[in-house]
Subunit: 248 residues, 2 copies
DNA sequence: CGTTAATTTGATCATCTTCAACATGAGTGG
DNA sequence: CCACTCATGTTGAAGATGATCAAATTAACG
């Protein structure tokens, strides 16, 4: 679980990054990877609660999560906030800004370090590397897929289905990075989960209890243990797919 | 309202297209436009109920709507269907396929004609025209924006807000093509609207009646007349923005 | 016109929200 | 090390919004 990075030693190299297989430059050969690295920037790690960008900020770059996690929050001037998604290591975020500046705020849920991918630089490199350009389209298309699956989830599924789909999505995302798919610790609060799933925090709390009572999970605060993934998946009508398109 | 096209005379030319300002090649100069046109294809118009592509189809191209309209439907193998969006003249669709084949089906709601934009061709041209490449990113980012606004709508807003936001979105989209923003005819059924908004068809019907009774609209089957747009917008807390990011 | 599909309206029911109280727990200063 | 506090999470009871079931009405189309 310990992902501490020895900062002084970190020299930005996608080639050495354990998350490279999940990230934008996946599939590039060593030479192209080097060109790609040249435009990628580092950032000082964010502390819990700090943001990578805020709604209203001008758009400059996409970000990749190296470690930690964030919530992406849409905050309309008038109304209440809506969490659009959570970003975990190996995942890209920041797409909300490409259009005409950021409409969301990206808030770190814990100590989080990022790579910065300036879109101008990236797309210039990409114009010389067709496979990278295509990958960039795919990454954006993936974002669209995720959001669309989420629409299905919100429009059609019950509260219990939503929570189960959420847990299964997290499970897959942990698994894709080599962590346990059954035992993990949530980095977000009940309130955040509820907001994301379009529910009240109390409902989420009750659902955790219910799933625990039903023997599907063991819930201890933010520590989650899923007892039988196929079982859980089936029980909720495999809306596992919802939002799990995540990191392909 | 009559958008009949004299078919024999149609020669594909984005330069002559009245929708060019809304479409992908907007902002290109005449020369670049010509290069763009070269890769754009035509399709025989779809009849009501026919589809441009179906879930499971291999991805080849994005589509632009010349006339008519479509619903984009996500159909998971098991569960029920979910309408992800409606596409109207000047708008692009087909992004659901870029990742790894189409996950949605695009069904014409009326007689509908399309332009076909093969992504390989487009991205090749785009790699030589940076502004086009950037525009393509923006179009995809716009799709993300729309979906995310829709997430907010589904997660946080009441049934009445959702319907009002939907109508305001349609209103803007009609207006952007030069049609009345207050008087228009829906091309989709109550059932489709309900599905899209995550509601029951009966609820949508009741809401139309209620808004009519309240004097905000005149509803006559699929003919809608909005009496006071700012009024409607304000009454629902300007979630007008939701989904109205549509055609920028 | 007759037949079927779409829409409207009514009545009842379920899920989820809201309000409220209570429990737990991490962090802080004595 | 212990009390205190603020944030987070849990649980209960009542209420509301929207779903579902059922029937009536209207519109669409051959």
């Amino acid at each position: 679980m310990n992902e501490v990075i020895d900062l002084p030693r970190v020299r930005l190299s996608c080639r050495d990054c354990t998350l490279a297989e999940l990230c934008l430059p996946r599939g590039l050969d060593a030479q192209d990877m080097e060109r790609f690295e040249a435009v990628v920037g580092q950032r000082a790690p964010l502390k819990r609660g700090e943001s990578a960008y805020r709604a209203g900020d001008q758009f400059n770059a996409l970000f990749a999560v190296k470690s930690g996690s964030l919530k992406i929050v849409m905050s309309p001037p008038d109304g209440e906030e809506q969490i659009i998604g959570f970003s975990m290591p190996g995942e890209l975020f920041g797409f909300d800004g490409i259009q005409e500046g950021h409409t969301c705020t990206a808030v770190a849920l814990e100590r989080t370090s990022l790579c910065e991918l300036p879109l101008d630089g990236i797309s210039e490199v990409a114009s010389q590397i067709p496979s990278l350009n295509r990958e960039l389209y795919k990454v954006m298309a993936n974002e669209i897929s995720i959001d669309q699956s989420m629409l299905l989830l919100l429009a059609r599924r019950s509260a219990e289905d939503r929570l189960a789909a959420f847990l299964l999505s997290l499970s897959r995302r942990f698994a894709s990075r080599g962590f346990s798919e059954t035992d993990f610790t949530l980095s977000m609060s009940r309130h955040d989960i509820a907001n994301y799933l379009g529910l009240a925090a109390e409902t989420v709390s009750r659902l955790f209890s219910r799933l625990d009572d039903a023997g599907l999970l063991t819930v201890n605060g933010r520590k989650i243990q899923i007892h039988d993934i196929p079982d859980l998946r089936q029980r909720v009508g495999d809306c596992a797919k919802a939002e799990s398109t995540a990191v392909n």
